[in-house]
């Protein structure tokens, strides 16, 4: 979570609210914040740290591992209409890449604002496509990997 916390100013600039969830109690979240996170990242984790004791929320989100009793590393990007736009779920061993998440936020915000679509790996400022009958079979003229 420290890696996401370190990027928090970028999320804020994009108008994104971050919430973290684990099966730990709120009391343990507090001590983790005070004893460790605040020493990894200045200010620690500035967003709410939610508790999912029993894994009921993780079960509904498909990320609760009953055998281990923990929520695995699932990340959901939810738009202002409350629709899940992007999902990434990793087992515990590999950490997330917050830069890819930020790229996806920018791409979805662009798509919602313009009605365009963004090709693979799109970054702000790069070519977008406007879907329609005229584009069928002609994408190659507009965009190449």
């Amino acid at each position: 979570m420290a890696a996401v916390a370190a990027k928090y100013p970028e999320f804020q600039a994009l108008g994104v609210e971050v919430l973290s969830v684990s099966t730990d109690s709120r009391q343990v979240h507090k001590i983790w914040q005070e004893e460790e996170l605040s020493k990894m990242v200045e200010g620690g984790v500035p967003f709410p740290m939610l508790s999912d004791g029993g894994g009921r929320i993780g079960t509904v989100y498909g990320v609760y591992d009953e055998a281990a009793g923990v929520d695995i590393r699932g990340r959901f990007l939810i738009d202002p209409d409350f629709v899940i736009r992007a999902t990434e779920v990793l087992t515990a061993e590999v950490g997330r890449n917050p830069d890819e998440l930020i790229r996806q936020v920018k791409a979805f915000q662009h798509v919602v604002a313009t009605g365009e679509v963004t090709p693979s790996g799109w970054q702000p400022g790069q070519k977008t496509l406007t879907p329609g009958p005229d584009l069928v079979g002609k994408v190659w003229q507009e965009w190449k990997p």
């Binding site: 979570m1 969830v21 709120r26 709410p48 079960t59 990340r75 202002p80 736009r85």
Partner: protein, 81 residues
């Protein structure tokens, strides 16, 4: 920093949607499950939370409706990645 709120918070409700039914109780019926799906509405829930600088409080996902939300699950505090 302001004094953080002490937390005799009420137990949180958990999922505010229909939860998956344990399969063993309904072996021959189709099980109604609310599971998060990309492209569909996010299942709402209420959880207890710690907020640095504020203290303990209960938070609903739908408190943030109207904003972009990143919801991150992780395996546990004090783990290594």
């Amino acid at each position: 920093m302001a004094k953080e709120v002490d937390g005799c918070v009420k137990p949180a409700a958990g999922p505010l949607v229909a939860e998956p039914t344990p399969a063993k109780e309904t072996p021959f019926k189709e099980v109604q499950m609310t599971v998060a799906r990309t492209g569909k509405e996010a299942p709402d829930f209420e959880a207890t939370a710690y907020v640095a600088g504020e203290g303990f409080k209960n938070i609903k996902l739908s408190d943030y409706r109207g904003k972009w939300i990143v919801l991150c699950f992780y395996p546990g505090d004090f783990t290594f990645v």
